[in-house]
């Protein structure tokens, strides 16, 4: 079985998920390029990366399950890893930006 002869129950949801994931990632990166301030720019990639990765990996699980005729879920590992580490990167970068902009000084 190849990609062209995939059954419809897997091909249609996978195509939809791929299109939605690609659009989410593109909109997030557009926000990174277009927005004015660093603290505004932070939001775009955080949304786009996490949701785009999630959608694409669910589509990948669907396609490989339909291709192999048995459940294959090892792609979930990447989703789990990205969903765990993306907020940590965002938090470290946000604290670095606050530190560098000098917005929060200690009153003592």
């Amino acid at each position: 079985m190849t990609l062209e002869t995939l059954p419809a129950w897997a091909a249609l949801p996978a195509a939809l998920l791929l299109i939605v994931g690609g659009l989410c990632t593109l909109i997030g990166s557009l926000g990174l390029a277009r927005l004015g301030d660093f603290f505004q720019r932070m939001h775009g990639p955080s949304m786009g990366n996490t949701s785009g990765t999630g959608f694409v990996l669910v589509a990948s699980v669907l396609v490989s399950t339909a291709l192999a005729d048995r459940p294959i879920v090892h792609e979930v590992l990447i989703t789990l890893f990205v969903a765990l580490t993306s907020p940590m990167t965002a938090m470290v970068l946000m604290r670095a930006a606050i530190h560098r902009s000098g917005a929060r000084r200690n009153p003592e």
Binding site: A15, L16, I19, G21, G22, R41, P45
Partner: protein, 93 residues
Amino acid sequence: MSGILVHALGFAQLCFVLAMLLATYRLLRGPGAQDRILALDTFYINGMLVLLILGIRSGTTVYFDIALLIALFGFVGSVALGKFLLRGEVIEP
């Protein structure tokens, strides 16, 4: 039903490549160092997604291992750079 998935794969790949171009623009232009680190973070995630699309296209599992490695090392790199901006050194004594 023929080929809708292939067209969707091409569309998603185009979206990820455009997103990589936008991240490159911010990486080259970004006024502060934190902007560049954020752009690098977006860049490696998009590269990982392009590799995943290649993996779906070819039907082999090698690309997923490469994508997992890219996610792992990209996270370590981004956190190290952010920690350097925050504290002035990466591994504190």
